[in-house]
């Protein structure tokens, strides 16, 4: 059996003002359909154990979670090893619904950006108001990070999870590393 690795194989950078880490293998399933339908909702919630998020929000608990991607799309998070089982379970609940569910784990890369300056580091790269008052825990935002699409949410206080396309992983890592270089604190959010 081949050795499955994530895009950057858990590469990390800890010498800057925030820690950047590729979190390695994370199961991700795209679920598209009518998000108002109970079949789609229960397909997502029953396999993850978290509640259905409001538009623009994400609910996550460890490796499980549901992210609201667009009015007809969710990103369902689960442990990498559990993807096949999860897909099978979702298939059963969605048997009669018009919906699409597909494994995208190997098509994405997930980064963790953590530390007291994490907000500042990310705010340098995305055109989004990341002040503690505007971007709060539970919110989920798809935007761009310099030249690439990226989606992110606060997984824990001062700790962002950032999802990018796998083919952009090295670019995203380099970008975060430069934005986190030592001595580059802005101090804007600290008052």
């Amino acid at each position: 059996m081949s050795n499955i690795v994530s895009a950057l194989n858990n590469k990390a950078y800890a010498d800057g003002i925030a820690e950047v880490r590729e979190i390695g293998l994370q199961g991700m399933i795209t679920l598209r359909g009518d998000l108002a339908s109970s079949a789609v909702k229960s397909a997502a919630t029953s396999v993850t154990g978290v509640k259905m998020p409001a538009p623009g929000h994400a609910n996550s608990d460890g490796q499980h979670g549901i992210c609201w991607m667009s009015p007809d799309e969710l990103l369902v998070l689960c442990p990498y090893d559990a993807v096949a089982d999860t897909l099978e379970k979702m298939g059963k609940s969605l048997a009669k619904a018009h919906a699409l569910y597909v494994d995208v784990s190997d098509a994405r890369a997930v980064f963790e950006l953590s530390g007291p300056h994490a907000r500042e580091v990310l705010a340098k790269l995305v055109p989004v108001d990341l002040s503690p008052a505007a971007f709060t825990s539970g919110m989920f935002r798809r935007s761009r990070m310099a030249q690439i699409p990226a989606a992110f949410w606060l997984h824990a206080p001062d700790s962002f999870r950032i999802v990018t396309f796998r083919s952009n992983a090295q670019y995203a890592f380099d970008l975060l590393k430069v934005a986190a270089q030592p001595g580059s604190e802005v101090g804007y959010f600290k008052g």
Binding site: P55, G56, M69, S70, P71, E73, P127, V128, R141, R142, S143, R144, P149
Partner: protein
């Protein structure tokens, strides 16, 4: 810099998160139309100094298309509305009239 609000996902972002998709409310003419109609559809575009209607796509967000009404001189965005319509909504037109009395754009005013 334009600040647009996507009517599909409700996110307010600046223009680099979106992508412009050309003029709004084009009437399509295909097989069976006259050459003048086809030329009009294919090449003739508004180039107004003032009120303008465009299609935009939330390309780095939810990926949906929508319409936007804006001013090409002041860069003010009057509002955004769903893509599934043939004309700007009445309340948006009233709002523009308040700010730019007597505006016209193609058959709309």
């Amino acid at each position: 810099m334009l600040i647009l609000t996507c009517p599909c996902c409700g996110v307010t972002g600046e223009e680099t998160e979106f992508h412009a998709g050309g003029e709004a409310h084009l009437k399509r003419f295909g097989p069976g139309s006259s050459e003048d109609q086809f030329e009009e559809y294919l090449f003739m575009r508004e180039n107004p100094k003032g009120v303008h209607f465009e299609r935009w796509r939330h390309v780095n967000g939810c990926g949906k298309w929508f319409h936007a009404a804006r001013n090409t001189v002041t860069l003010e965005v009057y509002g955004t509305y769903a893509a599934q319509t043939h004309e700007p909504p009445a309340d948006l037109r009233d709002k523009i009239t308040e700010k730019v009395p007597g505006w016209t754009w193609r058959e709309f005013q």
